[in-house]
Symmetry: D2
Subunit: 362 residues, 4 copies
Amino acid sequence: MAGNSFGQLFRITTFGESHGTAIGVIIDGCPPNVELDMEFIQSELDKRKPGQSKITTQRKESDSAQILSGIFEGKSTGTPIALLIPNEDQKSKDYDHNKDIFRPSHADYTYQSKYGIRDHRGGGRSSARETAARVAAGAVAKLFLKQKGIEVFAHVSSVGTIDAPIVDAPHLDQLLEIRESNIARCADPATANEMIEFIDAVRKAGDTVGGKVSCIIRNCPVGLGEPVFDKLHADLGKAMLSINAVHGFEYGSGFAGSEMRGTEHNDIFQPAADGKVTTLTNFSGGIQGGISNGMDISFRVAFKPVATVMHNQQTVDKEGNAAEIKGKGRHDPCVVPRAVAIVEAMAALVIADHYLRQNSYL
Amino acid sequence: MAGNSFGQLFRITTFGESHGTAIGVIIDGCPPNVELDMEFIQSELDKRKPGQSKITTQRKESDSAQILSGIFEGKSTGTPIALLIPNEDQKSKDYDHNKDIFRPSHADYTYQSKYGIRDHRGGGRSSARETAARVAAGAVAKLFLKQKGIEVFAHVSSVGTIDAPIVDAPHLDQLLEIRESNIARCADPATANEMIEFIDAVRKAGDTVGGKVSCIIRNCPVGLGEPVFDKLHADLGKAMLSINAVHGFEYGSGFAGSEMRGTEHNDIFQPAADGKVTTLTNFSGGIQGGISNGMDISFRVAFKPVATVMHNQQTVDKEGNAAEIKGKGRHDPCVVPRAVAIVEAMAALVIADHYLRQNSYL
Amino acid sequence: MAGNSFGQLFRITTFGESHGTAIGVIIDGCPPNVELDMEFIQSELDKRKPGQSKITTQRKESDSAQILSGIFEGKSTGTPIALLIPNEDQKSKDYDHNKDIFRPSHADYTYQSKYGIRDHRGGGRSSARETAARVAAGAVAKLFLKQKGIEVFAHVSSVGTIDAPIVDAPHLDQLLEIRESNIARCADPATANEMIEFIDAVRKAGDTVGGKVSCIIRNCPVGLGEPVFDKLHADLGKAMLSINAVHGFEYGSGFAGSEMRGTEHNDIFQPAADGKVTTLTNFSGGIQGGISNGMDISFRVAFKPVATVMHNQQTVDKEGNAAEIKGKGRHDPCVVPRAVAIVEAMAALVIADHYLRQNSYL
Amino acid sequence: MAGNSFGQLFRITTFGESHGTAIGVIIDGCPPNVELDMEFIQSELDKRKPGQSKITTQRKESDSAQILSGIFEGKSTGTPIALLIPNEDQKSKDYDHNKDIFRPSHADYTYQSKYGIRDHRGGGRSSARETAARVAAGAVAKLFLKQKGIEVFAHVSSVGTIDAPIVDAPHLDQLLEIRESNIARCADPATANEMIEFIDAVRKAGDTVGGKVSCIIRNCPVGLGEPVFDKLHADLGKAMLSINAVHGFEYGSGFAGSEMRGTEHNDIFQPAADGKVTTLTNFSGGIQGGISNGMDISFRVAFKPVATVMHNQQTVDKEGNAAEIKGKGRHDPCVVPRAVAIVEAMAALVIADHYLRQNSYL
């Protein structure tokens, strides 16, 4: 398995390079009779697409998704759903200067070493453009989860050292509304302003900066997740770590939890109201023993700063000789505002997959 | 797939409950002609086994591994290797008080909800006892990697808020020697003493504490890891997150990297010496675009405090009614000294698997 | 994936060599709350075990299965079920003469070439002894299917050129009773006698003979089987072809169907009685478009004659030089009477797996 | 896994319905640096496409394949190769009469029952149109195998009761030339004529007829195939049985082998010439113990007659009431001449996959 598929029962396979003809995805295992709302799918893609605000890359792509199969009279049929996104802005010549040179902290060197050949145009397969296919597939997963009442919400919780406070609301849609009201995609408006100003300064300096995305999954039924290796948080972790530029994942108490005592960390069960057992605290992040316990699932994802900067950098060429790479063209100062859509998509895919896996026993 | 298998080509499947007859593992895909040094396998198990020092649980298990298949005249034959570890200390009656009650932050409630039945004795399948099977399999993976010159080393880098400095040495064996000279399994002797004292105090207080394990993989060839979903760090992350009590994973610059600028985070390539391209810094943690670049692979794993504490706790019973759980019996004040062997085992399994995957193309 | 696992959701992994310590199987994905009737599991193994009658091999193995995990108070818990069968009759020295020589139509040459090492004792991993593990796992699958009312029945329908007429009965248990009343395991008593006499003559001649096993699956719900590649009959076919000595598989009209016209081959649908659509004929063998249609599933499996004969044969040694192999020791004149249990086991595993796969959508 | 993927390391996933926008395939795991000769790929598709002769269906499809990804300067890059075939002849209205009725021996009833929804136009996903995607992917597999010197050849060996003699030649290309000189795709010219005349008569009678395709794989290295479940012939069998209308598979001596004695069936090893061990006969069909032995791999595939006939037939509608289906429109009197390309494609995919699997150990 060459690594371009994800999921067991709700399974996606993506294809496509940054500057090839098209990118796309096959979803195999989407249950029948899910309404494939193309407007919703497109709106999800719009949240990830480049050029949407002054703090993202200026590459122009409409990222228009077409559906090629698996649909009949607006609904899924149980057969594979193929989604196609043609590439439009293929200024391949922009990349000729990268042909024989390895950009620092990009995948040029490793792809070349692994395969002995590479499509150097815009990063080829290693480009984050691939994640558009995931967002399209994730939108389908969300439509399935919606039928089950499960909600997925993510937002930018930090940029550089600017941290947002923890956000909450009776309905995640309320947080979504706040988030979409600002281009930083942070659900805390005051912090959002600070982030935007900071990213803009970083952009003007020709530099980039990392950040974190926090995610909440609500109304997930008890029992999702498989022991031993396919724990729910292990699959969520893999999903997130497979996103370009991600360097860390934690759920529930996360890294901070490693500094705590058991007596403070244990989530005390509360007697069932409405037949529903809850816990007083949620350091477990909604998952115990790898299985959802009905509380909110919560996790955080750390993104490193984008490697493309507008400064000249020392590097090597294909022969291993010293070379210099020029800082020019377009660049994305901070990836997290667009990454929110990708985090949500991957989370939805994991939950949809484990929903089906658990369902097979019932 | 019910989740008890890990890996694609070097693939393990584990079985067994804490208080059943035995636990064990089948390794399918180990290449032929690997010397199956049973003494080494046992010595790895000894590093994980309970009762080895005053700062671990006092449960007595010799964890003696038997090999049932896949071996001929001391070498692997390419057929499945089955390893069996009988359970010895099966004081099942100790657990009768847990039969109808859900222990806080354990998997009792979620297993019961998922399956409608559960082996409550010592946590059953959710017990960390399962990881002994992983350590046995990981030892076989290490024997394979040794043939290829690849080394894996982990140690306890923090307990609670006590952090060890970053350790390094020309040969990882040197660090291993230091680590094995203290029961905290920290490669910095001064910090180790501090940790031991602290864990002992926590133990006496009937409490538990979390910690972190850091891991280095050296001499990994360039090119391991598959785009897009099976990035090397994504599979390492899943491997680690599948270990009991793990709440976080980061590699290279990790969470701290999310606070950095691109200009400081980029790893500048150095002209090749001896035909080998290197980087000046290693914020990438030895992995770029999901593929190993030949530098040291480095990651950190966060463990929450063990849930079993020697204090009475409020909880609920099977019917969802309020109940109290007594703090009694044996407990493990801090899991990280024993977890070092598990982290190394899972890392070795991931690298062995990706080694074979990459090899299939060549 | 090195090929020792079968199934997606009801998944088995087997291990063990003919003359190693033990053989066994892990079942991962058996639903919880299946009663694990060990007496039934053993009775299934007894149908496959050697030495059970004068027309099978005289190797003595009790094939006693032990259950190591996944069981609690007699029921499956949803966790992996490990079954162990120790090897008893390990007369390894009997096989020293085979060490450096390749037996004709055995797997000695191909294993040696593939792996560069092999356990030559009794065929090692290539021995049909491995199928005992499948029969044990298949018995668990049958216990699960029994809960759903699904029945699996196979019998010997031909030995050499002796063909049994097609058998049928209102309940498959009636056929089972007839089959178990004779050592040929043919559900037609007259043909059974003929077969026994013939096999005995072949045995006395130091020779072997092939045969066919026919199988019926009744009360399979409509809808099992996945398009496109995992058609129900494609998975049944793979299951059967993976059994030692099998050279052919056909379902429904099979090879004879290739000689028919569409107008005679089409199965005409009958108006539903009791809400159940049926077909007038069943050339489809209960499967249309790869999906069960509720009619009896029927297929046939062709076994070649066993390669071990009591005659001297020309062959080559490890260096590729001419050599002679002596006909001596124990031999199995005809494998089909024992293979009936294996065919049923593999069929049950396929149906159990597809039952869970279909269930995941519902 | 919903069944639309095939292969482990050389893995394809297909999508598309008969009358949707397009069909296609993603190949994940094709090694880098394979020359993607689009002319060859198209010529393979032309052998399967409808309307190519008077004895096939008259549906008009050019089946023009486009390559969307995984290619750079004419060569594979190691990343997923997506191939797209737009649907042209979408006379969906032709199928309105089938909307609420189940065609005998088609998959209408089973798809409707399985999913509760179906695209009835031209069979939707159950249409053999899906196999065009396999042929495109198989052509890529062939290009890879060609680099290794491995050849795959199939031809029509029977139509109805008309059997061709066994064909052979020093080079399979010689047989290919004969085969392509007649529209029956039989490598024996005299039999071909007889077949063509017969199929034409069947066509005029508004009827259909089945047939068999025989396949040879030459120069396959020794050692391909994995014990126990993924035996080379088990994967070939599954591949063939997954093709629409296939009802049987046999390799080597096949069903006839079940009537033979061991002493006649055993393939006697011949002393190595040029370091290559061979066998005197080849009843093993080039595979022993599930592993290729270097001799020609040979197998046969039985196709039932196509279900669509130009006669009125009794059937039932969606409510299970009696109904009649009219014989009208276009029909394919005999599928085997076009199926030759599909058999070769699936065979090439299996061998490519097992080539990579074996390579991973080396």
